[in-house]
C-alpha cells in the first residue's frame, strides 16, 4: 500500500501522440477513472473517453469504426465478472471482444491495439496503470497501419 508516488508523466517534445479511444462503463470503470482523479494519480493524457452505461452496449462495429477512423488503439473497460451493474453485460461484451480480436487478426491489424480490461469503481490506481500500459503498448506499436495506408 505504501507505493511511492507516481512520477509526473511528462511528454518528450516532438514525441508521437497516439489516438486512443476508451469506451468504458458508467458504474465501474468510469467511476474508477473518476477515483483516480480524486486521488490525483497521474497517467498519460493520450486517451479519450466515451461513456456508456454498460460494456454490453458496445457494438463491435463501434470498435471497427474507431479503427477505420484512424484510432491507434481502443480500450474497452467494464466491471469485473460477477460485478456487472446489469448482472451480465460484461460477459456478453467480453464474448464480442474476442470476436473483435479475431477480426483484427484476420484483417492484418495487430490485435494488441485493442484491449478489454476490468476496472472496478474502487480501483482508481488500477485505472491509471491500465491507461499507462495501453499507451505504452500503442506507442511501441506505432501509428495504426490504417492511418498510414490512407495517407
Amino acid at each position: 500500500m505504501s507505493a511511492p508516488p507516481e512520477n509526473p508523466i511528462v511528454r518528450k517534445p516532438g514525441e508521437w501522440q497516439p489516438k486512443i479511444l476508451g469506451i468504458i462503463c458508467n458504474w465501474c470503470s468510469y467511476a474508477g477513472a473518476d477515483l483516480a482523479g480524486g486521488g490525483r494519480i497521474q497517467y498519460p493524457p493520450d486517451i479519450r473517453i466515451v461513456r456508456v452505461m454498460c460494456t454490453g452496449r458496445i457494438d463491435m462495429l463501434f470498435i471497427m469504426k474507431a479503427f477505420a477512423d484512424g484510432a491507434d488503439g481502443v480500450l474497452v473497460s467494464g466491471c469485473h465478472f460477477g460485478d456487472c451493474h446489469y448482472l451480465e453485460g460484461n460477459y456478453k461484451a467480453a464474448k464480442r471482444m474476442f470476436m473483435v480480436k479475431s477480426l483484427m487478426k484476420n484483417m492484418g491489424l495487430e490485435d494488441k491495439r485493442f484491449r478489454m480490461t476490468f476496472v472496478s469503481a474502487s480501483e482508481g490506481a488500477k485505472w491509471a496503470v491500465v491507461v499507462k500500459d495501453v499507451v505504452d503498448t500503442i506507442k511501441s506499436l506505432g501509428p495504426s497501419p490504417i492511418t498510414e495506408f490512407s495517407k
Binding site: 500500500m1 505504501s2 509526473p8 508523466i9 511528462v10 511528454r11 501522440q17 489516438k19 479511444l21 469506451i23 458508467n26 458504474w27 465501474c28 468510469y30 467511476a31 477513472a33 473518476d34 483516480a36 482523479g37 480524486g38 490525483r40 494519480i41 497521474q42 497517467y43 498519460p44 493524457p45 493520450d46 479519450r48 473517453i49 466515451v50 461513456r51 456508456v52 452505461m53 454498460c54 454490453g56 452496449r57 458496445i58 457494438d59 463501434f62 469504426k65 474507431a66 477512423d69 484512424g70 484510432a71 466491471c79 460477477g82 460485478d83 451493474h85 446489469y86 448482472l87 451480465e88 453485460g89 456478453k92 461484451a93 464480442r96 472496478s120 469503481a121 474502487s122 480501483e123 491509471a128
Partner: protein, 710 residues
C-alpha cells in the same frame, strides 16, 4: 401526443420545451409510443451552448481555459460559449438558463467535473432554461483530465478540447426524453439483524413502514450480543441491546424472518421482488402452529427438548467454548425465543417430539426450506463482519498454542453469561491468568499480504476495555498492551485511554514478531521490539489475546451481488459517495448500514443505520420515483424478428410479438434497465438505446478521430 412522439431535431427545442413544461407526466406516459417512430436525429440545426468551468484552480490550474473556449467557438454546432469560476454555483447555473433563452440553444455542454457528480445539477439548470433536461451532456475535464495530468498543461488542454468536441457531437444529437415515474411499494427490507439492522428496522417501523428484517442465524442481535461490556462507558452490551431486540420482536411493523437467507432479487427501486429462503427450522412458532390447526401450540422456549436431545455440538455463539444440542437456542435472551433444529447433526430419534408433548406439538422433523416472495420498495444491507482467521498469521500461534485466544473469545470468557460464568481462565489448565498480553493490530494494518491493510477501528478501544476488566476482576493481574498507535478518536475515548494508563496497564509500542510456548507450563513468550526504548524485549505471559482484524461477513459477497452492490478492494460494500452519500449505493433503492460498509464501532454503526433508514424511507414516503429514461426501443422497420436480443436481455424485458403479419421485438419498459446489451448486439441495428443511441455514440467516435467532420 404527436408533439411528444416526434423527436426529430428540427422542431424539438421550442415544442419539447413546451411539452416538458406543460405536462411532463402526460408526455412521459406517451413517450413509449415513440417506439414505433423512426428515430432520425440530425445535428443540422443544432445550436449548442458550451460552458467551461474553472472549478477554482482545480481545472484552470492545469489547462488553458481560454484555448479550450476558443476551440469550442470554432465548432460548427456551437452557438454560444462561456466560462465561469464555478459552473455549479447559482450564478453559473443562471448562465445556462439565460443562454438557452437568449441564444435559442438546443443543447447544453458543460465541461467540468464528472457527470457522476454534477449531471443532475446541470440537467436541472437545462430544464429551468426551458430545454428538456436530457439535452445536456457533460465533458469530464477535471476528474479524468486536469487532476490526472497536472504536470502536462499542453496534453490536458488538447484532451479537454477533444472532450468538448466529443460532448458537442453527442449533444447535437440528443433527443427529448421523459423520465418515467413508478409507484414505490410501501415496504422496506433490512438484511442482517445485528445492531445496525435492528436499528434501521426499528426506525423504518417507527416511520410507519412495514419492514421485513431478514437474519441468517436463528436469533437477532449479531456481534453486539456476544460482547460483554462496551467502551468507554462500560455499559453491559446485552443490557443495552436486549431492549432493542425485544422491541424488534414486538413491533407490529417489523416482520422478523430469522434463520432465513435472501435467495434472489429482481426489479428496481420501488419494486424489488425478493425471494427469501426460510431455512427448515424444525420447530413451529405459535403462529405457524395455529396455521396448522394446533391451537395454543408451538414453541414457547421451555427447553424440554434441549434436555432430552442426545446430540452434542459446539455452540457457535460461544465460539465453540460451550456445548449445544442438535435442537438449540444460542443463549437465554434470544429473539425470537424459538428453538432450532440443526438438521445436519440431528439423528431424528424423536425424543424431542415426545418431550414437547401433544399440546404444543412444536417440533416437525420433516420440515422443509420454504421460499417466500415479498415485494419491497427499498432495501438496506446490514450484513456486518466476521473475525479475520488470525491463525493465518502463524507467528502468533493461534490454534497452535492453547493460551493464545482472540478478543471475541476473551469477550465470551469475561462475560457473566459466557461459558465460564465470567471467570477468565487459561484454556490450557483452567487457572486464572495473572500476566496477560494484548496484541493490537493482529492482522490489521498489515501489508504483508496475509492480513488486512486497513485499520479495524475498534480494536484499540476494546483492548483498553479488556485491560480495565482484568485489573478490575483479577486482583494482582497485570495487562500488557502491544500496540502500534492507540487510536482513541471518539467522544470520551482519549479520556478512557488515560484512565487505563493510570490503572497500571503497561503499554509497549512495538509489533510482536513471534510468540513461543513453554511446552511444560504452557506459558507464552512474547517477542517484540520496544520501539520507544529501542530494544528487543521478551515477555512471559499466562495468556495472549489477539485483537484480530475484522473482514466482511462470509455471505456479504453473495448478498451484495443479489442486490447489485459493488465492493471496494478489501471487500467492504461500496457506498455511492465516501463522504456525501455513505449510506447509499450505486443501485437506486439499496442502502448500507453498519460495518458492511467498513469498520465502525457501535455508536458509528447505529448512526449509520439511522442514516440508512432515513434514506430508505424517503422514496417510500414520496410514493413514486423517477427512473432514468434510458430504455431500449425497437425500430420496427429494421427489426427482422430474429429474436437474438430476447435471449441476451438479463431482465427478460424483451419479447417477440406478431405485428402486421411479421414478428418484431417489443420492450417492456418497466423491466428494461437500459444497459443496452441488446443494442450492442442487434445485427440489424434495429434497437434504439435512448440517450446512448448508435448514431450518438458513432458521432462521439467520429468527433474524436475525424475532428468533428462527419
Amino acid at each position: 401526443m404527436a408533439a411528444a412522439k416526434k423527436t426529430t431535431k428540427k422542431e424539438a427545442a421550442p415544442k419539447a420545451a413546451k411539452v416538458a413544461k406543460e405536462a411532463p407526466a402526460q408526455a412521459a406516459e406517451k413517450a413509449p409510443q415513440a417506439s414505433s417512430q423512426q428515430h432520425t436525429v440530425s445535428a443540422k440545426d443544432a445550436r449548442i451552448g458550451v460552458f467551461i468551468c474553472h472549478c477554482g484552480t482545480n481545472i484552470a490550474g492545469s489547462m488553458d481555459i481560454e484555448a479550450v473556449q476558443n476551440y469550442a467557438k470554432s465548432l460548427k454546432e456551437v452557438a454560444y460559449v462561456d466560462n465561469y469560476q464555478y459552473m455549479c454555483s447559482t450564478p453559473g447555473q443562471k448562465k445556462i438558463d439565460d443562454a438557452i433563452k437568449d441564444h435559442k440553444l438546443t443543447g447544453i455542454v458543460v465541461a467540468a467535473c464528472t457527470p457522476r457528480l454534477h449531471e443532475p445539477t446541470f440537467r436541472t439548470a437545462t430544464k429551468e432554461g426551458g430545454l428538456n433536461p436530457f439535452r445536456f451532456e457533460m465533458a469530464n475535464i477535471r476528474d479524468q483530465n486536469s487532476w490526472v495530468h497536472m504536470h502536462d498543461r499542453e496534453g490536458s488542454t488538447e484532451k479537454a478540447k477533444d472532450a468538448v468536441r466529443i460532448a458537442v457531437a453527442k449533444a447535437a444529437l440528443l433527443e427529448d426524453l421523459f423520465p418515467k415515474s413508478v409507484p414505490v411499494e410501501k415496504t422496506a427490507m433490512v438484511v442482517g439483524a445485528g445492531v445496525a439492522g435492528m436499528q434501521a428496522a426499528l426506525d423504518l417501523a417507527a416511520a410507519g413502514i412495514k419492514t421485513y428484517l431478514i437474519e441468517k442465524s436463528p436469533t437477532i442481535g449479531g456481534r453486539m450480543s456476544q460482547l460483554d461490556k462496551t467502551f468507554p462507558t462500560l455499559d453491559c452490551s446485552q443490557c443495552i441491546l436486549t431492549p432493542k431486540m425485544v422491541d424488534v420482536g414486538r413491533s407490529p411493523n417489523i416482520e422478523l424472518m430469522t434463520y432465513s437467507d435472501v435467495e434472489s432479487v429482481e426489479g428496481y427501486i420501488g419494486n424489488f421482488d425478493v425471494t427469501i429462503r426460510k431455512k427448515a427450522r424444525g420447530v413451529l412458532t405459535p403462529k405457524e402452529a395455529e396455521a396448522r390447526g394446533i391451537v395454543g401450540g408451538g414453541c414457547n422456549g421451555c427447553g424440554d427438548c434441549d434436555a432430552v436431545c442426545p446430540v452434542v455440538k459446539p455452540n457457535p455463539f460461544e465460539l465453540g467454548m460451550k456445548p449445544r444440542k442438535a435442537i438449540y437456542i444460542y443463549h437465554p435472551q434470544v429473539v425470537p425465543l424459538i428453538y432450532t433444529i440443526d438438521f445436519e447433526s440431528c439423528v431424528k430419534c424423536g425424543l424431542c417430539v415426545t418431550a414437547c408433548g401433544p399440546e404444543k406439538r412444536a417440533i416437525d422433523l420433516e420440515s422443509q426450506d420454504e421460499l417466500i416472495k415479498v415485494k419491497v420498495g427499498t432495501a438496506i444491507l446490514a450484513t456486518g463482519y466476521d473475525i479475520f482467521p488470525i491463525e493465518n498469521k502463524e507467528e502468533w500461534g493461534y490454534k497452535r498454542y492453547d493460551n493464545v485466544i482472540t478478543s471475541l473469545e476473551f469477550e465470551r470468557l469475561i462475560c457473566a453469561s459466557g461459558p465460564t460464568g465470567g471467570h477468565l481462565i487459561r484454556p490450557s489448565d483452567g487457572e486464572t491468568p495473572k500476566k496477560i498480553a494484548f496484541i493490537l493490530c493482529a492482522g490489521s494494518r498489515d501489508n504483508t499480504g496475509i492480513g488486512k491493510p486497513y485499520c479495524s477501528r475498534f480494536c484499540c478501544m476494546y483492548s483498553l476495555k479488556h485491560a480495565h476488566q482484568i485489573t478490575e476482576k483479577i486482583p494482582g493481574a497485570q495487562a500488557y498492551i502491544f500496540y502500534m498507535d492507540i487510536r482513541s478518536f471518539g467522544k470520551m475515548y482519549e479520556e478512557f485511554y488515560y484512565r487505563i494508563q493510570d490503572e497500571g496497564t503497561k503499554f509497549i509500542r512495538g509489533r510482536v514478531s513471534n510468540i513461543q510456548e513453554d511446552p511444560k507450563t504452557k506459558n507464552l513468550y512474547v517477542m517484540a521490539d520496544d520501539t520507544l526504548l529501542d530494544r528487543p524485549m521478551k515477555l512471559e505471559a499466562d495468556l495472549v489475546v489477539l485483537a484480530a482484524a475484522i473482514q466482511p461477513s462470509a455471505d456479504t459477497n453473495r448478498t451484495r451481488k443479489l442486490f447489485g452492490v459493488s465492493c471496494s478492494m478489501d471487500g467492504w460494500l461500496l457506498e455511492a459517495h465516501p463522504k456525501l452519500n455513505p449510506c447509499g449505493t450505486t443501485t437506486a433503492g439499496v442502502f448500507l448500514a453498519g460495518v458492511c460498509q467498513g469498520p465502525k464501532d457501535i455508536p458509528d454503526t447505529v448512526a449509520s443505520a439511522e442514516g440508512a433508514a432515513s434514506a430508505a424511507s424517503i422514496p417510500i414516503h414520496m410514493g413514486e420515483v423517477e427512473l432514468e429514461p434510458y430504455f431500449a426501443m425497437c425500430i420496427e422497420e429494421k427489426c427482422a424478428g430474429c429474436g437474438m436480443c430476447v435471449n441476451l436481455c438479463p431482465y427478460s424485458a424483451l419479447s417477440l410479438v406478431e405485428k402486421d403479419g411479421r414478428k418484431v421485438m417489443q420492450v417492456t419498459e418497466a423491466k428494461c434497465k437500459g444497459c443496452g446489451t441488446c443494442g450492442g448486439f442487434c445485427p440489424g441495428g434495429a434497437i434504439w438505446m435512448q440517450h446512448f443511441a448508435t448514431p450518438q455514440i458513432v458521432a462521439q467516435i467520429d468527433a474524436f478521430l475525424l475532428g468533428g467532420e462527419q
